[in-house]
């Protein structure tokens, strides 16, 4: 079953490579946003099956974006998977306390990224 994944990522190279990775691995529909604002708007508009959200972004970071998504009735049910380069243990602990569907640490393995997302979605 084809999934629709929204990638919110400020790094263009990562955004592009991740999109391609999900598309070619699973054939999923992938839309992207380069900022929090854009991402929230797309999520509201497109109702993706999941949001792959970068944490460290200028202006509004991923956590704030998540909060916005949680706050919006139309997006609060969308599972959000954090995609982060913050790999410090305390950071990870902080992420675990959030009601996110999953946390994937950069640099992720492109060969298993889609499987990881699928697993999260299936659990849900």
């Amino acid at each position: 079953m084809t999934k629709h994944i929204l990638i919110i990522e400020d790094e263009p190279d990562i955004r592009e490579a991740t999109q391609l990775c999900l598309e070619v691995a699973k054939g999923w529909k992938v839309s992207t946003a380069c900022s929090s604002q854009e991402g929230v708007e797309k999520a509201v508009a497109e109702h993706p099956d999941a949001v792959l959200l970068d944490v460290m972004m200028p202006d509004v970071d991923g956590l704030a974006t998540f909060a916005q998504l949680q706050a919006h009735p139309s997006t609060q049910h969308i599972p959000v998977i954090l995609l982060t380069a913050k790999a410090q243990p305390d950071e990870q602990r902080r992420f675990a306390q959030l009601k996110v569907a999953g946390v994937i640490t950069k640099p992720y393995d492109p060969l298993t990224l889609a499987d990881q997302i699928a697993e999260v979605l299936e659990i849900r």
């Binding site: 990562i14 490579a17 200028p58 380069a85 790999a87 410090q88 640099p107 393995d109 492109p110």
Partner: protein, 905 residues
């Protein structure tokens, strides 16, 4: 002479009276005379005489009657024929039997009498030498007749015997029957009486001679004893003397006398034999001083008044051999002779004619002796005394006393005196023998006795003197020997004492040495202890100073608490951290004063506070991130260590060392952020690289060559980014730790500026930016590569953040305020930097717009590296900017100095 006279008388008688029987008469006379002369013993002479006369006269009884001194008399010789008359031998007759008138006639005219009782006639014939017998007869006194008749005598003849012109006795012839005696008989008896007188005289002379010889023998014997040896056996001599004097006791008292100054006074000595009187008790009471001291202490009381005053110098050492048999001792009663009453009595007693120092008391009852003394003698049956005071050359020596007891006399009397006729007016009727016994009679001292004693006294005196001298010598010798002995003993003692002293000195020296060494050791110990104490005190002072210094200089706050949590001390840092003065803290309850709270700001309950636990459990607690409140009400995080203060295992409080960890927390936060950023910055390009390369490697893009190419470009681009990032990070680390050496040299500022512009020209052109440069030709002392790196970093930033078409200029000028510096400016026309970030942008990864920066290929570390390089050149870097009006980055570098030139050259 007497013999010649007798011969003459006999010759006279022969010539005139011998008529018929001349030869027998002469023969008789011759025989009688011879017999008389044959013996010198009077008794024998008398016995021979009465026998011859009775034989011649042929009468019944011839006797010789001897008168006693009192007029009585005794028949001392007698011859009786056929017991015709009773024997009267040794019979005594009272003095009245021969009246004194008759005795006087016997003496004065040597009257002889012939009585014929039958004829009542008495023939009286006074003796007339050279004349014929003249006998006158007359009637005899009837009394006389009666007396003779009572005796049984009918006729008698009496011829007086004279001796030394005294009536010695009578030669008497009695006959029981009447018998006529005539001149012839009278003549013969007279001749015999004459011979008797001669014999008596001779006998007396003999007796005297014998007595004298005996006395001399006694004297010699005693003198021999006295002078035989220097050590006089006074006791023996006394006993001999007593025997010689027929005494029954005696005593020799030697007066006390002085010896030399060392021997002191010899006590009086007493030698006794026989019964001795006890000193009367009344005499003892009269003594002023106790008897046992009187003998030695008060001799002057007892010294006779005459004649010696030198007696005090006499000496008499008592020696064992001459010790009296009844010796006196100083502790016994005083002697009679010592008592003043003795001397007083003797002065009153009449001395003997023989010597003024001799008293012969025949009968104590007749002496003037004090009654108590007399009783003392009489009690021990002493009746007579002979006392001689002993002197030697005016030196009084003592007394020699001899005692005689009472004796009994027995007399045989012829008939009793008629007690009723004391005048004896009537002749006695009976001459019956009776014995008279007189008991308790005194035994008088004869003149011979007294002379003997006087003579002996001289010898005694000499001997005693010698004895005293000997005793003195003995005493001296003894004293000398004693002295020598004492001296020897003293020397031995001294030697022993010396040895002991030496031993003691050695011992004491050893003890002292030991004590000294001990003392020295103790002193050394004390000095060491003192030094140690001083060092300790100095150390304490130093430690106090150090502690104070430490307390004052440590960066941490330190305060102390008692068990109640009251602050007892605090250092200035503690006060400063809390915003108080030290004085404000002392005495405060810490918990309330500091508002001790947990890291999250929750106040501790006092009992739960770790500091409280330290005070009460003694546990040490190391806590961080608790919070204390300052004076102004703000709180700050602290890290502290609370340790118990113990004294003798008792917890008396706690000391708390704390520091404000606000800055540290900030640094840690920054560090965490840095690590997070670095991690993020590294992982970001790596994520791109890994994902693209993963896709390529998966083969999923094999059908999409454009996509594969794109992935490769992304991978390569991010690889470069990663290289720059790593290079910058390494540069920053090297700069930070001084590991980036600056290769400084003289270089021209213009060259460096132009090279930098050239290096950035391509980028600028690509970004549509125009570069402007206004170099200055100054010489710098710098590492040209690093300066160029600084220029290019700043130019790159300016280009990145400037809109296309704008101008980025690089200018230089000398620093106005600091002429030794050149000031470079890189000015852009970008968006500018907010004022609050003008400082922060020089920190790591503090780009104003990170995404923009990253989109511009920056690492976020360029400005940090620039600041490090400029600071390494002793320059400064800053930014002047207004948001929307562009920014101007400025940095200064020092100009080269002559020193730099020298070092270059």
């Amino acid at each position: 002479m007497r013999s010649r006279q007798s011969s003459l008388k006999l010759s006279d008688y022969s010539a005139k009276a011998m008529l018929g029987n001349r030869n027998s008469f002469a023969l008789l006379l011759h025989r009688i005379t011879r017999r008389i002369r044959q013996s010198l013993e009077l008794e024998e002479i008398l016995a021979s005489t009465v026998a011859e006369v009775r034989s011649f006269l042929g009468t019944d009884r011839v006797k010789i009657y001897r008168f006693h001194g009192d007029g009585s008399g005794e028949v001392v010789a007698e011859a009786i024929r056929d017991q015709r008359l009773p024997s009267l031998l040794h019979h005594n007759f009272p003095a009245g039997d021969i009246p004194r008138e008759a005795r006087e006639l016997f003496l004065s005219v040597r009257q002889r009498s012939i009585v014929n009782v039958s004829t009542q006639q008495i023939g009286i014939s006074p003796f007339k030498p050279g004349s014929m017998m003249d006998i006158r007869f007359r009637k005899v006194d009837p009394c006389h007749v009666e007396y003779l008749t009572a005796m049984g005598v009918k006729s008698s003849l009496v011829v007086p015997i004279l001796a030394e012109e005294r009536l010695w006795g009578l030669l008497v012839s009695h006959h029981a029957t009447p018998r006529q005696l005539g001149e012839r008989e009278l003549h013969l008896v007279q001749l015999i009486a004459d011979q008797l007188e001669i014999a008596i005289a001779q006998s007396n002379l003999l007796s005297q001679t014998r007595l004298r010889a005996h006395q001399e023998q006694t004297i010699n014997q005693i003198a021999t004893l006295l002078h035989a040896a220097p050590q006089v056996p006074l006791q023996t001599v006394l006993e001999q003397t007593v025997i010689a004097l027929q005494a029954n006791g005696g005593r020799l008292y030697l007066h006390s006398h002085f010896s030399d100054h060392r021997s002191g006074q010899f006590p009086p000595q007493l030698f006794t034999t026989g019964p001795q009187p006890q000193i009367p008790a009344s005499w003892l009471q009269d003594l002023d001083t106790p008897p046992n001291r009187n003998s030695t202490n008060q001799p002057s009381l007892l010294i006779p008044p005459t004649p010696s005053s030198s007696f005090g110098e006499a000496h008499e050492p008592p020696s064992p051999s001459s010790r009296p048999s009844s010796p006196s001792s100083p502790s016994s009663s005083p002697h009679l002779e010592q008592h003043p009453h003795w001397q007083t009595w003797l002065e009153m007693e009449e001395p003997s004619p023989v010597s003024s120092n001799l008293w012969a008391i025949a009968d104590l009852y007749r002496a003037v002796m004090p009654s108590d003394l007399a009783i003392a003698f009489l009690t021990v049956q002493i009746r007579g005394l002979l006392i001689v005071r002993l002197y030697y050359q005016q030196q009084f020596l003592g007394y020699l006393s001899l005692f005689r007891g009472e004796i009994d006399f027995e007399r045989i009397w012829a008939g009793r005196i008629d007690r009723n006729d004391p005048r004896q007016l009537r002749p006695r009727r009976s001459f019956e023998t009776w014995r008279e016994l007189k008991q308790g009679q005194s035994h008088p001292w004869s003149t011979a006795d007294q002379e003997l004693v006087r003579a002996l006294a001289d010898h005694f005196a000499m001997a005693i003197h010698q004895h005293l001298l000997y005793q003195q010598v003995c005493t001296l010798n003894s004293t000398l020997e004693q002295d020598i002995q004492q001296r020897k003993q003293a020397e031995q003692k001294i030697s022993a004492l010396n040895a002991e002293l030496e031993q003691r000195v050695l011992q004491r020296t050893a003890e002292l040495q030991q004590a000294n060494s001990e003392l020295s050791r103790q002193i050394a110990d004390r000095e060491r202890a003192l030094t140690k104490l001083q060092q300790t005190q100095a150390t304490l002072v130093r430690l106090g100073h150090q502690l104070e210094l430490i307390l004052n200089s440590v960066a941490e706050g330190i305060y102390g608490l008692d068990t109640q949590g009251i602050i007892t001390f605090a250092n200035p840092v503690a006060a400063k951290l809390l915003g108080y003065e030290v004085e404000d803290l002392i005495g405060q309850w810490m918990h309330q004063f500091f508002h001790h709270a947990k890291p999250d700001g929750t106040p501790y309950l006092a009992a739960e506070s770790p500091i409280y636990l330290t005070m009460h459990n003694g546990t040490t607690h190391h806590c961080s991130e608790d919070r204390f409140q300052r004076a102004d009400g703000t709180s700050f995080p602290v890290e502290y260590v609370s340790s118990p203060i113990r004294e003798a295992d008792q917890i008396v409080g706690a000391v708390v060392l704390f520091k404000d960890i606000t800055a540290r927390q900030q640094v840690e936060q920054m560090k965490d952020e840095f690590v997070s950023i670095v991690s993020h910055e590294l992982r970001t390009p790596l994520t791109s690289i890994r994902s693209t390369l993963g896709l390529l490697a998966s083969g999923w893009l094999n059908s999409y060559p454009e996509k594969s190419q794109r992935m490769l470009e992304i991978a390569f681009s991010n690889t470069n980014r990663l290289v720059r990032l790593i290079s910058d990070i390494l540069d920053i680390e090297r700069i930070k730790f001084g590991k980036m050496p600056m290769q400084k040299q003289t270089c021209n500022a213009t060259d460096l500026m132009l090279q930098s512009i050239d290096a950035m020209r391509a980028i600028a052109e690509k970004a549509g930016i125009q570069l402007s440069v206004a170099p200055i030709s100054v010489t710098l002392w710098a590492d040209p590569d690093r300066i160029i790196q600084t220029f290019t970093n700043l130019l790159n930033n300016a280009i990145k953040f400037s809109p296309s078409g704008s101008i980025v200029s690089l200018t230089a000028e000398l620093h106005q305020a600091e002429p030794d510096y050149v000031l470079f400016r890189i000015k852009d026309q970008g968006v500018g930097i907010p004022a609050d970030q003008l400082e922060a942008i020089f920190d790591r990864f503090q780009q104003v717009d990170a995404s923009n920066s990253r989109s511009q290929g920056g690492t976020g570390l360029g400005l940090t590296i620039c600041r490090g390089i400029v600071q390494q050149h002793q320059g400064q870097i800053w930014v002047e900017s207004k948001l929307g009006e562009g920014s101007t980055f400025c940095f200064s570098l020092p100009l080269v100095t002559p020193d730099h030139h020298d070092s270059t050259l």
